[in-house]
């Protein structure tokens, strides 16, 4: 009896992979299915929000610090108006002569009065309240200790009532809080990534168990671990990509809306925390990273389970 022609055609084939649509056909079309794409979508949305928040805080801190880095405030705390004005004038002249000082601006009396008016009321405009004289100084570089010490010595010589304060010091606690919030956001991102990986791990494990019979058949027919893991990776790629893109788009939309809301406040502080193009590219990496984490997690999960089979 003549043998079917197939016998001559399938001989000596190598170890080429089962990939692409052919691989997808081996597992049921339902793929991992279930809630995984939605879980990934929620995680991606939250991660985008956390990443956007962390970047905005970093921008705010960086831009504010840059603005205040070389800023100094000199107060002449003297009750006698004549002595105060004399010391202020001498201090301003002395500071302007110092190397590394970019600008010196004595704050006009009426501007100072307007600044404190919300607290002191109309009394701020009279001499009834002795306000200190203020000089706004900008250094060409950062206000390091050596420079401050030199300026303090000079001020002590020409204006004994002068007090010099780096402006960055005032916002020190604010910067500390921002730093803590950034760490919180990064921790949140790490936890969300771990939660996503855990969701994929559970889904891949359940899918493996649900398709164990098929996997064993493929295994017995000579399918290697990489081929079998590839079948799952394809399913995870589709599910996680759908979820991650959907979540990232939702998260980015919320970020844009929040940005517009804050922008409407027309506050320089808020605007300094806006996201740059590079930041948006970073946010766009979130779904990519999530899909990558999902793929690696699924592959690892399946490989470990396959490793228990002969």
């Amino acid at each position: 009896m003549r043998a079917p022609s197939v016998f001559a055609r399938a001989i000596g084939r190598g170890q080429a992979g089962l990939a692409g649509a052919r691989a997808a056909r081996v597992l049921p079309a339902t793929r991992l299915g279930g809630p995984m794409p939605w879980v990934i979508a929620i995680m991606a949305a939250l991660t985008v929000l956390a990443a956007g928040g962390a970047l905005a805080l970093a921008n705010f801190a960086e831009r504010t610090r840059a603005g205040l880095e070389g800023g100094l405030t000199v107060q002449i705390v003297e009750a006698d108006p004549a002595a105060r004005d004399g010391q202020a004038a001498r201090a301003a002249q002395a500071l302007a002569r110092q190397p590394g000082v970019a600008s010196v601006r004595p704050v006009p009396r009426d501007e100072l009065a307007r600044l404190v008016e919300p607290w002191l009321g109309e009394a701020a405009q009279s001499d009834a309240v002795a306000l200190p004289a203020l000089i706004d100084v900008a250094l060409a570089g950062p206000a390091d200790e050596a420079r401050l010490s030199r300026l303090r010595s000079e001020l002590a010589r020409v204006a004994p009532a002068a007090r010099l304060d780096p402006q960055a010091d005032w916002l020190g606690p604010v910067f500390e809080t921002i730093r803590a919030l950034r760490w919180l956001a990064l921790t949140l991102i790490a936890m969300l990534t771990a939660a996503s990986a855990a969701a994929v791990w559970l889904a891949a494990r359940n899918a493996f168990d649900a398709n164990r019979e098929t996997i064993e058949i493929v295994h017995h027919l000579g399918g290697n671990d990489t081929q079998i893991a590839g079948i799952f990776q394809r399913s995870v790629l589709i599910d996680s990509a759908l979820g991650a893109v959907l979540g990232a788009v939702l998260g980015a939309a919320v970020l844009v809306l929040l940005g517009e809301r804050f922008g409407a406040l027309q506050s320089g502080v808020v605007e300094s925390g806006s996201l740059s193009t590079l930041d948006w590219l970073g946010v766009a990496l979130v779904p990519v990273v999530m899909v990558g984490v999902a793929l690696l997690t699924a592959r690892r999960t399946v490989m470990v389970r396959l490793g228990r089979m002969l």
């Binding site: 079917p4 022609s5 001989i11 170890q15 079309a29 019979e213 000579g222 399918g223």
Partner: protein, 243 residues
């Protein structure tokens, strides 16, 4: 054994136990030669399926040594087992068809795993399904096929890639006598092309259908006739291997 024939499988003092139970296979020492046709017989529970599991690499023995295709299976790294499995064809007693795949896709699976292109496999798979009488049912899922039809799909899948060793566990158990003989002819055709065939069966009538076959008999996990002397009709020396 016969001179000049290649040993495709060699068992040396092999024993197998599951868990902490007693040995289901004991002291198995035998050789399978390339290009021969073997029947494995024995009563239910004699250990036929366990022996076949060792042959198709679903199980490692508890003791002893197994060499296949010239390599030591016991010490072979797990990562190299798939390559070895692709040289085997297996007909499982319970068919083990992929439930959500059509008959065509089930038969095509070994070829796809081996990287055969779709345009290359389409005709051979169709030919094979025709051969087993299922050409008209190539799109049918296993659940819609009868037991006998599923068995024929399983056999087609096992032989499609022309394995070097075909292991079949009761391959004709669910088909009518006419189809059983036809399937045996398929195995013989494969055997004539050089494939070593091992068929486990209860059916003594089948043994008569392959005149040059050798018979191995298991009794309570022990090989009682590793030389094939119990073949029909008995003969003392195995026939030379066919090309």
């Amino acid at each position: 054994m016969m001179a000049g024939s290649e040993d495709i499988v060699r068992f040396d003092n092999v024993g197998l136990r599951y868990g902490i139970g007693g040995e289901v296979l004991s002291d198995l020492t035998f050789t399978l030669h390339a290009g021969r046709f073997y029947f494995l017989t024995g009563a239910s529970g004699a250990g036929k399926t366990s022996l076949l599991k060792l042959l198709y690499l679903a199980q490692r023995p508890s003791r002893g040594a197994i060499r296949m295709f010239g390599g030591d299976v016991i010490t072979l790294p797990r990562a190299r087992l798939p390559a070895l499995r692709r040289r085997l064809g297996v007909v499982f007693q319970d068919f083990r068809l992929v439930r959500h795949l059509s008959a065509f896709d089930n038969v095509a699976l070994p070829l796809r795993l081996s990287g055969v292109r779709e345009d290359e496999l389409r005709q051979p798979v169709a030919d094979m399904l025709d051969w087993v009488g299922l050409g008209a049912r190539s799109d049918a899922r296993p659940a819609t096929l009868s037991g006998g039809e599923q068995q024929r799909v399983a056999i087609a899948r096992a032989v499609i890639a022309r394995p070097e060793l075909l292991v079949a566990d009761e391959p004709t158990g669910n088909v009518d006598p006419e189809m059983a003989v036809k399937l045996l002819r398929l195995f013989e055709a494969l055997n004539r092309l050089g494939t070593t065939v091992v068929v486990a069966t209860h059916d003594v009538h089948l043994l008569r259908q392959v005149p040059d076959s050798l018979i191995m008999r298991l009794d309570n996990g022990r090989m009682s006739d590793p030389t094939g002397a119990l073949r029909y009709p008995p003969r003392r020396e195995p026939a030379p291997a066919r090309a």
